[in-house]
Amino acid sequence: MTTVHDGEPGAVTTTASRPRPRRAHPLLVFLAKRLTITAGLLLGVTVVTFALVNVVPGDPVTANLSDQALNDPATVAAFREKWGLDQPLWAQYFQYLGNLLTGDLGISQQTGRSVLDDLVRYVPATMELAIPTMVLALLIGTGIGMLAAVRNGRFTDQLVRVGALLGLSTPPFWLSLVVLYVFFYKLGLAPSGGRLSTAFSPPPTVTGMYTVDAALAGQWDVAWDAAQHLVLPVLVLTSLTVALLVRFVRSAMLEVLQQDYIRAAYAKGLPARVVLRRHLLRAGLVPVVTVSGLAFASLLSGTVLVESIFGWPGLGQYAYRSATALDLPSILGVSLFVALVYTLVNLTVDLLYGLIDPRIRLS
């Protein structure tokens, strides 16, 4: 599969193997390398975003001042000066980078708050959607994918494949509208949107996720209400993510099922459930981990559309609004955050590999 490391001590019976030169712990080397790459990536993100926003024919002044205020040169000039828009582009860029190094992401033009504050506010909302989605999707996706692989070609498999196909082929925005129509409008089974009924006040902020915070504060009615608001968006996001996972898990598991070691496990007389649970699952997890990273990325994409339909005040909506308002500090902040998440997810995936697969274990 992947690189096979020879030279593990167990294999060598020689008494006189050469002592190896002392090197930094491989994990440290690995992390250092990844960190460098991440830093480069983030720098790239700032360049791309900066360039893109400045290619846009729109002017942030227009986006942020009232129509009549725009007719007043003094107001416009004041705005430009305040946000440094009167400086040359490169100066703006380097100033931004300089501030970034001190942890200052700048102040959002549209909300007037520090971008960091905004992120702190919106990220938990998105996480409140993403975490349950990911957990559900992983559980369901792995289970169903494995089932389909084992039942390869039979009715269950066909059903799962068609289901996954449907999930993958459904436009997320359309699905959101459909569930909204059915579950809220027709059946009244779920609230229409938002994070909390207006009758409740958000719980004291700890994690920023209402369900968790409310539970921590012992406000069970609030937690229950917040959980109800999660249902529809999570349903939509989960159905899409599950579809992605199922397809992948199924083919990954099928591949594993062809391996000699699975046949060998059967040949040992192990009951099927043991073979599946212990041998198949373990080996199939490696690709599952890979695709979870991918699924997470596509989940973040999905939230843009889903959040806007369910009025979910999360990162997706923030990104959308920042983009349409040409609010550079916010766009950069979101991009940086997402890129950071992306690299972190990748790093986690790589570390998980090592955990699952001893052949690529680092230490």
């Binding site: 990536l41 790239g44 290619v55 729109g58 459904t170 509208l177 591949e255 990104a319 959308y320």
Partner: protein, 304 residues
């Protein structure tokens, strides 16, 4: 010592029993290599896609109304006159859905082939040149991957102005890296392949080798991927249109039709039918991509 065995093909009840008990195990090693027309799902997809292609080609002949013609009969629910109802401007939704095929399908093809072209070329060069070129390409693809697809596409379209061309451009920008990576890794894995080595040992120059030995053998997985991505392209295009960043109105684009319908959900037909159109086309593309992959990619074809 031995006797002639019964005809091995003839059904033997005992064998059948043993086999049926064992079938679950047998299935483990994979099922059919049946031809496409024996696989109901693939067949259905082919029929659906063929149908859509016909619809796209003959749209003006099939559509009962002019897709742009407005009428005072706004928000008419589905009826004999308007099978799919009408929208807020009294336009016939059936006709618009039919004409929508003329946009979505060719545009998806354009997006995917452009992305394949760009990504393929870059991937080929990076894989072949290696070192710095390769590193640069990988970092560039990383960069694109670091943005959620739809957000980047949104930003690009917003930056260059929303219209068909820019939507296609944006989607090409967000989707070329996959092809670049696939081709690159195919090329890299092939750099060690002996037929390439053999050709080079015979004195074949690098450009010729690239064209004759590298490209034809690395393009396969990319083409399979491209087929699988066609559905995704339809979806992304629809999403951009839904956000108002796709083809300009009054074009009958499915995503923007869903968006129009979303303004008043109680008129469910306005968004349901274009949504179903997207669904079926994307599904057909996906099934077809799968079938092609099973067929062409030995990794998947094996015992499946």
């Amino acid at each position: 010592m031995t006797t002639i065995a019964p005809d091995p093909v003839a059904p033997d009840p005992k064998v059948d029993r043993a086999l049926s008990r064992r079938r679950w195990l047998g299935r483990l090693r994979g099922g059919s290599t049946r031809p496409v027309w024996r696989q109901p799902v693939t067949l259905a997809a082919l029929v659906i896609l063929g149908g859509w292609l016909l619809v796209a080609i003959f749209a003006p002949l099939i559509a009962p109304y002019d897709p742009l013609a407005q009428s005072p009969d706004a928000y008419a629910s589905p009826s004999a006159a308007h099978w799919f109802g009408t929208d807020s401007l009294g336009r016939d939704i059936l006709s618009r859905v039919i004409h929508g095929a003329r946009l979505s399908i060719p545009l998806a093809l354009a997006i995917v082939s452009l992305a394949l072209l760009v990504g393929g070329l870059l991937g080929l060069l990076a894989g072949y040149l290696g070192r710095l070129a390769d590193e640069a390409l990988m970092r560039l693809t990383d960069l694109v991957f670091a943005f959620p697809q739809i957000i980047l596409a949104m930003a690009v379209t917003a930056a260059f102005g929303p219209n068909t061309r820019n939507a296609v451009l944006a989607l090409v920008i967000v989707s070329w890296p996959v092809y670049a990576r696939v081709i690159r890794s195919a090329v890299i894995s092939m750099r060690g392949d002996d037929y390439l080595n053999a050709a080079r040992l015979l004195g074949v120059g690098p450009v010729k080798a690239l064209r004759r030995d590298v490209l034809p053998n690395s393009i396969g997985p990319a083409i399979v991927l491209a087929t699988l991505e066609l559905g995704n392209a339809v979806l992304l295009l629809a999403a951009l249109s839904f956000l108002g960043l796709g083809p300009r109105p009054p074009a009958a684009e499915w995503g923007s039709m869903v968006a129009l319908g979303s303004q008043d959900l109680s008129m469910w037909w306005v968004s349901v039918f274009p949504g179903l159109a997207i669904l079926t086309v994307v599904m057909a593309f996906n099934v077809l991509g799968d079938a092609l992959r099973d067929r062409l990619d030995p990794r998947y074809a094996k015992g499946r």
